[in-house]
């Protein structure tokens, strides 16, 4: 069942650092793009260009529909609509996603309010090099706020989200502390204390 070309180091494939990238690099070569472009895409995943799920998501949907045996068409049609209409928009502040034809859904969220990033892969998804990236905000919905599907490079996507969520970078935790002690000599509390001490000394030297 698993294609022979996929034999190799499981970790590299699981982490998406080898297979999706190498296929992408291959595709880049096939469409006669320069190798430099392929090299470029190897170093950084560009979520801005990720607006449609990868084609293998359709394969995945077909496979899971087939699990429904006689109900396969009824499972497949909503998934096909979802696949065809799914659009992502990543920008510097957040991500939005919309899908649906009869019932259209749109989800908007900002990276900063992300709380949990999951990455789940079942076995079929792993064979296809796919992953689901359900992400959550603090809303009380049970289940994911948004599930990003059809990403071939889920680890890069996860890292993209992770580095933009709160608390993942330097200098965010200690923000409130800077500037608290500007200059001791100009601190009114210090000054007042000094005045008090000076007056006390005065009092001690000249008791009334």
């Amino acid at each position: 069942m698993p294609p022979a070309s996929r034999a190799g180091d499981a970790d590299a494939r699981y982490n998406g650092s080898s297979d999706p990238l190498s296929t992408r690099a291959k595709r880049g070569a096939n469409t006669s793009e320069s190798h430099a472009v392929a090299e470029e895409s190897r170093t950084s995943f560009d979520p801005m260009s990720f607006d449609r799920p990868h084609e293998s998501l359709l394969t995945y949907y077909i496979l899971i529909s087939l699990c429904g045996v006689i109900f396969a068409p009824f499972i497949f049609i909503p998934h096909l609509i979802k696949y065809k209409t799914m659009r992502y928009t990543f920008d510097h502040e957040g991500v939005s996603m919309k899908w649906g034809f009869f019932f259209r859904k749109e989800v908007y969220l900002t990276y900063r309010r992300l709380q949990d990033i999951h990455v789940t892969r079942n076995i079929i998804e792993r064979w296809l090099g796919l992953a689901k990236v359900p992400i959550q905000t603090a809303s009380g919905t049970s289940g994911a706020t948004m599930t990003i599907e059809g990403c071939r490079d889920a680890e890069a996507l996860r890292d993209h989200l992770y580095t933009r969520m709160r608390g993942a970078r330097e200098g965010q935790v200690a923000d409130g502390e800077s500037g608290a002690h500007a200059d001791d000599d100009d601190d009114p509390v210090v000054l007042l204390r000094e005045i008090r001490d000076a007056l006390r000394d005065l009092h001690r030297e000249h008791p009334s």
Binding site: Y14, Q115, R158, M165, G167, V173, D175, E177, L191, I195
Partner: protein
Amino acid sequence: MTAQVERAAEWVYRGIWRVLSSWFCVPQHPPTLPSHGGEVRSFHPSIQFLKYLKLYFWIVLIVIDLLLIAAWGAVFWLNPLVGLLLSPVFLFVIVVPDVLAYIAIHLRYDTTWYVMSDRSLRCRRGVWVIGEHTVTFENVQDVKVHRGPIQQLFGIAKIVVETAGADEGEGENQFHIGNKAVLEGIDNPDELRGLIMDRVRTSRSAGLGDERLPQKAPVRWGADEVALLHEIRDAARGLA
């Protein structure tokens, strides 16, 4: 003899792992976390957790196998010929699920990884469905530590790290996409809990995405007032 059995078991287990990793793309190495100079720890649950799981395994095994053997005996008693014919079936049903369950326990243990940096926590678990969960400590609302009676016996605990919006009971299912990161089988829960809560305590926000809100500025005296205070202090000192 036992050493040989152990070696054979290890060999079989490694073979299973090879199949899992090359055919089923199960990663063998722990997940990574970007480090910011701080130490990144990655660890499995405590080895006690494995024993804890095996205890349940043996209890269930004994109960079910005794029932199956009783059923087999009953068939024998009613009709020895049918009992004899059914013996391969019974042996299969008695032995094979046990072996599979035993392997599954080991796989569950070996595929459960916890990775902790000074900023975040990542858990990964699962063989068929591999789920990974990342939370930053900045977003953590509370930490719960559960110790059941048998867990206490083994000296392990379950730590549940919750972010805002976590639902009661959602952590029951391991693979629920929830706001709870569950660390099972931890043998130093107090240390881990302390580490996590230290990070949460140093956080200046409520953990709800408000870190850029201006802190309520303390009332400060302006330059004029400070200059005046300087004068008063110097005057007071002059008097002294």
